[in-house]
């Protein structure tokens, strides 16, 4: 029983990270209309910057580190969107391709700043609580708390602020937003910047718990993408559920079946979900003939 609870505890930590990175996926998808395939690198730079600031500059206070990381990685996001993605998109280059390019550049940056394969910044606070024999490090509580606080903050931002409402409006009906004179392009920049900062903060809080490899950003981003796309990319409502689902599948399989295959099993599960999703939403004509399900031709959903 203890063993099960301990596994569950680790799952909640993983789910917190998938939730934060998942919300970052949604932010860019909604406001910019494309997937930011470089997201994993903005994520991992949060851990790497935190290590660098600690080891080279001697800054240890998380209250100093958090804003410094959010601002510096957010700034990288801002530059990427404003000076690479937007101009190149306007010239007809697919944003997906551009984000792949940005991914490669940032991966090199991560590699050059990283002292070795694995970086492990210091815990903010050492120690743990152990209710009923389940060990929960303070650092993990910080991860959970960060996920809850940032998710609530995003929710309130979109629900209660004029900027948030205007951003939702421009996602809802972009043409009407243009007609009203809303600054749709600026919202895209804001969303991209905030998305990069949130992903970085996720890595910043979780890296001290088990360390992060400088090249592990993409894997986290892919799992977070699974979490949000299970409930539909762009929909924040089910993100918590999706994050828990992916983290649970991975965590329990790793503990009770086989640690080596958990990622593969989760990935296969994801492909099945994606397949069902594509067939349901767009019909299956995108797929090779042998994968198609016979369906009425009017399967395309009106949006």
């Amino acid at each position: 029983m203890i063993d099960f609870l301990q596994t569950t505890e680790g799952i909640i930590t993983a789910a917190s990270v998938y939730l934060l990175v998942g919300l970052s996926w949604n932010l860019v998808f909604n406001a910019c209309g494309y997937l930011n395939l470089a997201l994993g690198q903005y994520y991992i730079l949060g851990a790497i910057f935190s290590y660098k600031l600690e080891s080279s500059w001697g800054i240890h206070s998380p209250f100093l580190l958090a804003p410094m990381i959010a601002i510096s990685v957010g700034f990288l996001g801002f530059v990427s969107e404003r000076f690479l993605l937007r101009p190149l998109k306007d010239r007809g280059l697919s944003p997906l391709i551009v984000t792949i390019g940005i991914n490669l550049m940032l991966l090199q940056l991560a590699k050059s700043l990283s002292p070795g394969l694995v970086i492990r910044p210091d815990n903010f606070v050492n120690g743990e609580i152990s209710p009923g024999g389940v060990h929960i490090a303070y650092q993990e509580l910080i991860v959970w708390g960060t996920a809850i606080v940032l998710t609530m903050a995003l929710f309130l931002f979109f629900k209660r602020t004029d900027l948030g409402r205007s951003m939702r409006a421009s996602v809802d009906n972009r043409r009407a937003a243009d007609t009203l004179g809303l600054k749709v392009a600026t919202y895209a920049t804001v969303a991209f910047t905030v998305s990069a900062a949130i992903a970085a903060i996720a890595a910043f809080v979780v890296a001290p718990t088990q360390g992060s490899a400088y090249n592990s950003g993409d894997l986290i981003a892919i799992k977070a993408f699974m979490a949000v796309s299970i409930v539909g990319i762009g929909r924040n409502g089910g993100a918590v559920f999706g994050a828990l689902l992916v983290a649970s599948a991975q965590g329990y399989i790793a503990r009770y079946v086989n640690a080596d295959v958990s990622d593969i099993i989760v990935l296969i599960g994801f492909l099945i979900v994606l397949y069902v999703y594509v067939v349901r939403s767009a019909g299956d004509t995108l797929l090779p003939r042998w994968l198609r399900v016979r369906k009425p031709s009017t399967a395309v959903e009106a949006t």
Partner: protein, 261 residues
């Protein structure tokens, strides 16, 4: 530019309906890239006048409205409201100067509530908190049903209610000019009659009302004047008298005659 903006912004509603010929459009040339859609369009509309703007698809009616609102930039010509030049001003500046638009397809945000739709528009027009509240009250006064549906999502409203929200949203700034782009679209005939009644009422209150319509016959009844556009030019400008508007010719110039009922 910023000085003018500040001056306009300081008293958006205080300016009285000054003398000057209402909305004056002169020699307007506009298009998209290489494509010229408007070729020297000129006309003016006076306060209290309900103008129907008719013409086949591609005649330039929607481009004309977009150029008046400022989302399309003209390459020549001028748009003046009570003597003040609007060309070169931004959308929100024009909104504050007194332009209100009900866009084609209503242009609402379906997953936002009615209140959020109004609030977003008020903020897009850069109204202050108090002015935004006053504007929302004005919309509710014009259409009480808006008040009842305030916290409902727009998507859950009927077509007629959505049209009221769209018109109410344009009333937020108490505009001197109301531009309605194809308001009949998707409306049942009885609701369409109500919208026409609203348009007449807005004109009777002293506003300039420009109604772009395909369903010309019904629209002519309450209207004062009818302009027909064809290939980016004004080909007819006269009273809204169904006897003198050459409807067969108008109908035949549509790509799809069936679209004109």
């Amino acid at each position: 530019m910023s000085e003018t903006a500040a001056m306009n912004g300081s008293a958006p509603e205080a300016a009285p309906a000054a003398s000057g010929g209402g909305l004056e459009i002169e020699g307007l040339v506009a298009g998209y890239g290489e494509l010229t859609v408007l070729r020297q369009v000129s006309f003016s509309v006076n306060p209290g006048e309900l103008l129907v703007l008719a013409g086949p698809n591609g005649a330039g009616k929607s481009t004309l409205l977009a150029t008046i609102m400022g989302t399309v930039r003209p390459s020549a010509g001028s748009v003046r409201l009570h003597g003040e030049e609007l060309v070169g001003k931004r959308v929100w500046e024009r909104t504050q100067l007194g332009l209100g638009l009900v866009p084609e397809g209503r242009g609402l945000f379906p997953s936002l509530t009615v209140w959020e739709n109004l609030r977003v528009a008020a903020k897009a027009a850069r109204l202050s908190g108090d002015d935004a509240e006053a504007g929302i009250e004005r919309a509710v006064a014009a259409f009480p049903v808006i008040g009842e549906r305030m916290s409902q999502k727009v998507a859950s409203l009927s077509g007629g209610e959505q049209q009221m929200v769209a018109v109410g949203r344009a009333l937020l700034t108490d505009p001197k000019v109301m531009l309605l782009d194809e308001p009949s679209m998707g409306l049942a005939p009885i609701i369409w009659r109500q919208v026409l009644g609203t348009a007449r009422k807005l004109a009777d209150e002293g506003r300039i009302v420009v109604l772009v319509e395909q369903r010309v016959m019904e629209a002519l009844e309450p209207a004062d004047r009818c302009i027909v556009m064809q290939q980016g030019r004004v080909v007819r400008d006269g009273p809204a008298d169904s006897g003198t508007v050459n409807l067969p010719e108008l109908a035949s110039s549509y790509f799809d005659p069936g679209a004109q009922r």
